[in-house]
Symmetry: C2
Subunit: 161 residues, 2 copies
């Protein structure tokens, strides 16, 4: 185990489910977001590219929604593992998908500094996890999210695999 940084959930998704544009380690074109525990919260960090803008100087809202979404799915997986008595890295991580996503954009998010996405588990059950998230940049919260994650249904195992 790496003692310098906790394990990232996304590094333990099974290979078949590690192609997500937002957080799949096997998606070379994607964002490759990583979700890690910090105490009872999870944290992910991401520095947007210059083209990921809404208007010049500010981060694209769709990117912020995407980061919240993937970080929430990772958080749900991490929470499900903790509920089962395991930590990230002990076993393949379960794969959750998004049932509902809500993002409130509180103020424009400046482009340049690293974004920090922090998440908290609000409710958890065998099938569903509700995650709250905040996006921080340069010490201020610019967006808040709430995401309902559900266990990946069997219908998402693609028929051609």
């Amino acid at each position: 185990m790496n003692t310098r940084a906790p394990n990232a959930v996304q590094d333990y998704y099974p290979d078949d489910f590690a192609h997500c544009y937002g957080c799949g380690r096997l998606n070379a074109h994607g964002l490759q977001l990583k979700t890690r525990w910090e105490g009872d919260e999870t944290v992910a960090r991401f520095t947007p590219r210059p083209d990921q803008i809404a208007v010049p100087g500010f981060v694209y809202g769709g990117l912020i929604a995407s980061l919240i979404d993937c970080h929430a799915m990772g958080t749900a997986a991490a929470a499900a593992e903790r509920a089962a008595g395991r930590e990230i890295g002990d076993a393949p991580a379960p794969r959750f998908v998004t049932a509902a996503l809500r993002v409130d954009f509180l103020k424009p998010t400046p482009l340049g500094p690293e974004l920090e996405i922090r998440a908290q588990v609000r409710e958890t059950s065998e099938r569903k996890v509700v995650v709250g998230a905040t996006v921080w940049v340069a010490g201020a919260i610019t967006a808040r999210g709430e995401v309902i994650a559900v266990r990946m249904p069997a219908t998402m195992i693609a028929p051609n695999r």
Copy 2:
């Protein structure tokens, strides 16, 4: 005026605000979404790339949220113009930004076919437009969204421009 396809809102955003990753005509790396009226609804169409996936065979939810978001901003601009007695192309389009975004993912969205995002104006005032949206693929609705759009605040005119 092109008689074969109605004008797209995004082609009439002022150059300084036409760099959005989701819909800016001047963003070479972006999605370049186009929003057009079809009667009282607006429509945008987009075919996801193979890497824009959640898990193999299905479209990335963050992309769906992004398409709903940009199409809703375009719809808000188009609705504001209609409220002022103008149609798309009569003048530069006003630029709205997202205050809140909600997406319900009703079922997995298969990768391959073109997505059609349809939107309706639910409420409109000088400052704010509420837009409802549905994502269609192969004749079925896979996601629904509601977006609150507000006129772009002066604070989003980047200081370095």
